[in-house]
């Protein structure tokens, strides 16, 4: 429990919480106390010595004692001084020492202007260099497509290795050598293996690790236009800052959300933005011409006439396919246009069943949905059937933190505070809170798992059913695995059950939910989390009736195709074989595709409507924990692009945001709180997206025109595409007034704190308007004693999870849009089927030889690799191939014939 205590800083009394260290307390009070090695998510280690302050024993004590504020707990009545000359001199000498080897390369350093070291150097008043020696130099390393490495800039704060090794569990980054020659890098050059390596660019207080994709279109921080965004590359919904200049998305930075991403993003989310920049994007309305290879560009008027003609033609039957990567608003607009009966989710049947089952279950008071923060604070996690590192990476990082709680508990018993990072680590050693994983093979989290059980899906289900039985009727006649798992879960106070929909197994999911309900009866504070496939998968499912999925749509319209088909923001070719989709689309007269990139589906369209990317629209999303969040456009829309709902608004009578929200409230009452995101009121205050010093704006388009164009207007939010309006850091000053600004702050900049690191300072007491934390839609809706729904039709379990073929996920292939980023493409693994040695013997294949898989819809042949952590009797197929498989799967090896001889 935290208490408020009195802290005297330079003889002025402040009220601060007593569960934090002195540095944090001072930063929360907006004091300018410099620091390097401390990080709010990683705690204190006392290495850099920069945060020294003078501590006095009592009012009479005038001598004082220099203490490192990051290592000092706050106590009631504590007296300290920041201004004391001895402390000030120490801090000045310290930064001078830190800077002895730091190059004077700020003008060519990409960190310049966004550099914690620059900020701290000025705060500590180090102006003149006295050190007369030469500077040490290092060789830099190639670290892969995400990060640049410039070791000469290193100031030895150890944050990188602490983050990479201790926080993320990576082992290919380390510190080498000693004294001022310490080297932070890999044993040899090569791509950093950890999925969270990109955070090093933010964790590093200076320019040792910098964002490599950003280098390719580098812009100084003060020239960037920034706005609060939501990551759409998986279902977690991490909060980000998207930064833009000149119509090009430049960079994604973390935006602190206490309950979701905290301070860190995964590399897919950080580097997956380039779909907004690629050449292969839609910019104009394209109408297929009468002749082959002929495309006509239509004006807005022509477009709407064409649309009206196709929608309203006699006997028109218009089908709409919504998307898991399209916002709630866009899906709703399409839903209205085509009508509930004709609206289909752009996903396969099994996934829609999973999502709808989840949405129903979440209404039950027997299920508590955990946030990532709650998962981090839980004391046992049971992770079932989902390789979350690949499908919802940020979730895996939270689960990894959960395992450290046992150590925190032990540390607390010895009177060690949780933020005493190194002390806690030394106490913790190998003791971990239990993480129990049931999967088909070892995953990145296996290294911290207490039990890691690899089973085929049917065996996973039987084990889970046995656990369910045990929880109903505990006795000792169960299998060893059941007893071990249940004991670990029941020993915990706040166990969490985590699964995902990417195993395509409805039965497993419903069993997970039942186990979760039973566990909650034993442990009130137990939680549940189910990762879904995409940022708005859950949101889309709320608009659909059962069976309104792609499988059913294609099956039902095989004979009687619709007259017009509107496909919104999805690529059907990701779900089925080329032949199947092409032959189906060929039967349809008018195909309208709304998207911002030219997908294979766009290429099949008769009419292409260029949609805005995430970064050009204000949008609302429903993440896996049923939290509704709003993202804001960072740039005006390019050329003819419009947000999908805007293309449809002339035809569905939902002419503005308010009308859409109202419609959404009608069709999905759970989403009613969405109206809180509406904010068109710019009468009092608006907020600038650009920094006050945004420079060279007059020169930016000088190659096009000498005149400076007026900034584009943004009518949809309280933000401006310019420097006009309130600077972001002033927003918080309005919090208590009647002129409240509802948008999250647009960027991290405040006087003296220029770098993005300032978020570490701000993260703890930044303006926290509830709405900015999102709305968990099921929290208020739960009627008491509402029961879990029953899985109605067991035929639903005709899942994609065939007895032996299971999906294998990869962080860089699972998400459609991230795949457009060049940096991510470089890390996509070669397609291969994985299996264990027993299975390879069974199939008579050796590593590297090909395996054939035939099914009704799709056949594939891939070389195989042996991985002995994979369970018996299964083979793992890359997800993007797996998902295309139909029924009647046959597995064979190429060499079968030879062996039969």
């Amino acid at each position: 429990m935290t208490n408020k205590v009195t802290l005297y800083v330079d003889n002025i009394a402040y009220q601060v919480s007593d569960d934090i260290n002195l540095l944090q307390a001072c930063l929360n009070l907006n004091m300018d106390l410099p620091y390097f090695c401390w990080h709010p998510a990683m705690g204190s280690v006392g290495a850099c010595r920069q945060c020294a302050v003078m501590q006095y024993q009592n009012e009479e004590d005038t001598r004082g004692r220099l203490v490192m504020s990051c290592m000092t707990p706050v106590t009631d009545g504590m007296r300290i001084s920041l201004k004391n000359e001895k402390a000030h001199t120490f801090r000045a000498t310290n930064i001078e020492a830190i800077m002895t080897n730091h190059p004077h390369d700020c003008p060519v350093c990409e960190e310049g202007g966004d550099c914690h070291l620059q900020d701290m150097t000025l705060l500590s008043c180090h102006i003149k260099r006295r050190y007369p020696g030469t500077k040490r130099t290092h060789n830099n390393q190639y670290l892969g497509p995400f990060l640049n490495h410039e070791m000469n800039r290193c100031i030895g704060c150890y944050r990188c290795v602490r983050f990479y090794r201790d926080y993320c569990g990576g082992d290919d980054l380390n510190v080498f050598a000693s004294k001022n020659n310490i080297y932070f890098g890999r044993a040899e050059p090569g791509t950093l293996e950890n999925e969270f390596s990109g955070n090093l660019a933010e964790v590093c207080p200076t320019g040792v690790f910098t964002d490599k994709p950003f280098s390719q279109h580098y812009i100084r921080k003060w020239d960037l236009q920034t706005s609060p965004s939501i990551c759409t590359h998986c279902s977690i919904g991490c909060n980000t800052y998207a930064a833009e200049r000149g119509g090009k998305l430049r960079k994604i930075n973390n935006r602190h959300h206490p309950d979701i991403n905290g301070h860190f993003l995964c590399d897919r989310g950080r580097f997956g933005y380039e779909h907004a920049n690629i050449d292969n994007k839609t910019t104009h309305v394209w109408l297929r011409g009468d002749q082959e290879h002929q495309t006509n560009i239509l004006s807005y008027n022509q477009t709407h006439m064409k649309l009206a003609q196709w929608i309203n033609e006699p006997n028109a039957h218009v089908i709409g396919i919504g998307s898991v990567r399209a916002s709630i608003e866009n899906n709703a607009a399409l839903h209205k246009l085509v009508g509930a009966k004709n609206f289909y989710a752009g996903i396969k049947q099994v996934e829609l069943s999973q999502l709808q089952f989840l949405a129903k279950a979440y209404k039950s008071s027997q299920i508590s949905l955990s946030s990532l923060k709650e998962i981090e604070h839980s004391d046992a996690v049971f992770l079932i059937g989902e390789d979350v590192t690949q499908t919802a990476p940020r979730l895996a990082l939270s689960i990894r933190q959960m395992t450290k709680n046992e150590g925190l508990k032990k540390a607390a018993e010895l009177g060690i505070k949780p933020w005493q990072d190194e002390a806690v680590r030394n106490i913790r050693q190998e003791d971990k809170s239990p993480l129990i994983i049931i999967n088909t093979h070892n995953t990145r989290l296996s290294d911290v798992a207490k039990y890691n059980i690899n089973l085929s899906p049917d065996k996973q289900l039987s084990l889970l059913l046995e656990i369910e039985q045990y929880l109903k009727n505990p006795h000792n006649d169960y299998s060893d695995a059941t007893l071990k798992i249940t004991q670990a879960l029941l020993k915990a106070d706040r166990p969490t059950i985590i699964t995902g929909t990417y195993n395509f197994d409805v039965t497993l999911l419903s069993t997970c939910l039942r186990v979760s309900v039973l566990l909650k009866q034993h442990k009130t504070h137990s939680g549940f989390y189910c990762a879904t496939s995409s940022i708005n998968a859950l949101g889309l499912s709320l608009f659909c009736q059962p069976e309104q999925d792609l499988d059913n749509l294609i099956f039902q319209t095989e004979e009687k195709p619709p007259s017009s088909l509107i496909i919104m923001e999805t690529d059907l070719y990701r779900y089925y074989s080329n032949e199947k989709i092409t032959s189906w689309l060929n039967k349809i007269k008018n195909i309208i595709v709304i998207d911002h990139i030219i997908t294979d589906t766009v290429k099949m369209a008769d009419l292409v409507l260029p949609a805005s990317s995430l970064f050009e629209q204000d949008a609302t999303w429903l993440n896996a924990e049923a939290r509704m969040q709003h993202s804001y456009a960072v740039m005006p829309m390019e050329k003819m692009r419009q947000t999908s709902w805007q293309w449809l608004c002339q035809h569905n009578l939902l002419e503005d945001n308010q009308a859409i929200v109202k419609y959404i409230q009608d069709i999905a009452p759970q989403l009613t709180p969405m109206s809180q995101f509406l904010q068109n009121d710019k009468t009092h205050f608006s907020v600038a997206r650009q920094a006050m010093r945004s420079s060279a704006r007059t020169a930016f388009y000088a190659n096009i025109d000498v005149k400076e164009y007026a900034p584009k207007k943004d009518n949809k939010s309280q933000l401006n595409f310019s420097m006009e309006g309130l600077p972001a850091f002033r927003q918080s000053t309005l919090n208590n007034s009647q002129h409240k600004i509802n948008t999250p702050i647009t960027g991290v900049w405040s006087p003296k704190w220029n770098s993005h690191q300032a978020i570490n300072k701000a993260g703890y007491n930044s303006c926290k308007i509830d709405i900015n934390l999102g709305i968990k839609i099921f929290d208020d809706l739960k009627p008491k004693h509402s029961k879990l729904p029953k899985l109605q039709d067991p035929s639903h379990s005709s899942s994609l999870a065939h007895t032996i073929v299971c999906p294998q996920h990869h962080i860089y292939t699972n998400d459609e849009l991230a795949g457009y980023a060049n940096s991510i493409q470089q890390l996509v693994p070669k397609l291969a089927i994985s299996l264990n040695q027993n299975m390879s013997n069974k199939l008579s294949v050796k590593s590297g030889e090909s395996i054939n898989i035939n099914s009704d819809d799709y056949c594939l042949s891939l070389p195989c690799t042996i991985n002995d952590t994979i369970a018996d009797d299964i083979i793992l197929v890359p997800i993007n191939e797996f998902i295309k498989l139909g029924s009647n799967i046959q597995v064979s090896s190429i060499t079968d014939g030879e062996h039969n001889e």
């Binding site: 280690v45 006392g46 290495a47 850099c48 010595r49 920069q50 020294a52 004692r65 220099l66 203490v67 290592m71 120490f90 000498t93 310290n94 020492a97 830190i98 002895t100 080897n101 006295r130 050190y131 007369p132 020696g133 030895g156 150890y158 510190v175 050598a177 000693s178 004294k179 001022n180 020659n181 310490i182 032990k410 540390a411 010895l414 009177g415 060690i416 005493q420 190194e422 002390a423 030394n426 106490i427 913790r428 050693q429 190998e430 003791d431």
Partner: protein, 441 residues
Amino acid sequence: MSHSVHAPNNPLTRFITQDENCWQLNQYQMQGGYDGLKRALTVSGPAVLDEIKESNLRGRGGAGFPTGLKWSFVPQGDDAPHPKYMIVNADEMEPGAYKDRLLLEKTPHQIIEGLIIGGYTLDADIGYIFIRGDYYTAIKHIEIALKECYDNNLLGKNILGSAFNFEIHIHTSAGRYICGEETALINSLEGKRANPRAKPPFPQVAGLWGKPTIVNNVETYCNLPHIINFGASWFKSLGRFKDAGTKIFGVSGRVKTPGLWELPMGTPIGEIIDNYAGGMCDGYKLKGFLPGGGSTDFLLEKHFDTPMDYDEIGKQKSRMGTGTIIILDDKYCPVAMVLNLVKFFAQESCGWCTPCREGLPWAQVLLEKIEQGKGELSDIKQLEDLCKFAAPGNTFCALAPGAVEPLQSALIYFRDDFELHISQKSCPYCSEAYSEDINDQ
């Protein structure tokens, strides 16, 4: 506890004879070796601890922390975590210190006996001897001694028929000075980078692999069998001043008979240098000396009456450290000597905290500049600033504060020498040719 009556006045070195095999078990036992252990096993662990506390034994590694007090923080009783570890810090690497080497090579069983007694006292399970990798002879002797102990039921299960079980492993250090810092030693033993750890938690509570751990110097352990054997009051009576027992003192530098002697605590410095080390070599005068090895402040001839006693030396603004005196004579450049030391400590900095990692190399650069005759008066001020910068409390461990001790005192006592280097733009102690040679480099 009853004690032997024939108490020696040189307990630590009494086993060392002219016989080159004097370190072996039979010789050690013939002279009363392992009697202390046998006696300890007849009483309870807490009773042994009381005796150690009563003896006023202070850690011989340099800091002089009371051993009994240190040990009393180890959790005891049935709820105490296990295994508990006892570690011998035999990573002697301090410039000028070679006292542990003598004990390690000549009396390995005395160390092992002390370690087993320590293990018994605190109900520990496993002992480690963390030894400097370059001490080949010592390593060989300890390895053989350990085997002798296992063969004779001095180690392993039910030691000497008691219910006490104890294992000892030897770990040879890969060679970093910082491993002598007890928590860096623990990290190194765990296979981690040898950086010191944050305290609290102190190793007594959560040390090696998170378990209660005691780390003490070789010489500290060597005292234990004798305290148990002859009693705390005998031990206290050995000291000539406040501190109890004897200590191995050494003198190096241009004295007539450099070496090591076991002498009572509180022996005056002058007596050690003049009587035992034979005074200065002919033609050399004493300019100053480091009383306790390379990381202690200089003292001068005027301090000769000071007893070698932790607190008394502290009063003269230096430290007893390892008790191995390094002499600076009037023909050797004090700047060069300090540079040599600072260079060593800068090299051995683990690189964790700023004042040590960046401050020591900075001081090294300035001292090199001055020694090469390129110094400026402002460099002296900078050196003073750097000494304050690396003061105790400002750094993560004691390495940097110790490293600047010779420098900060040299800046006071030998300031003229620094200024002379600067004003005449060369080292006054080097021949002209030599100083040009340095300049060319």
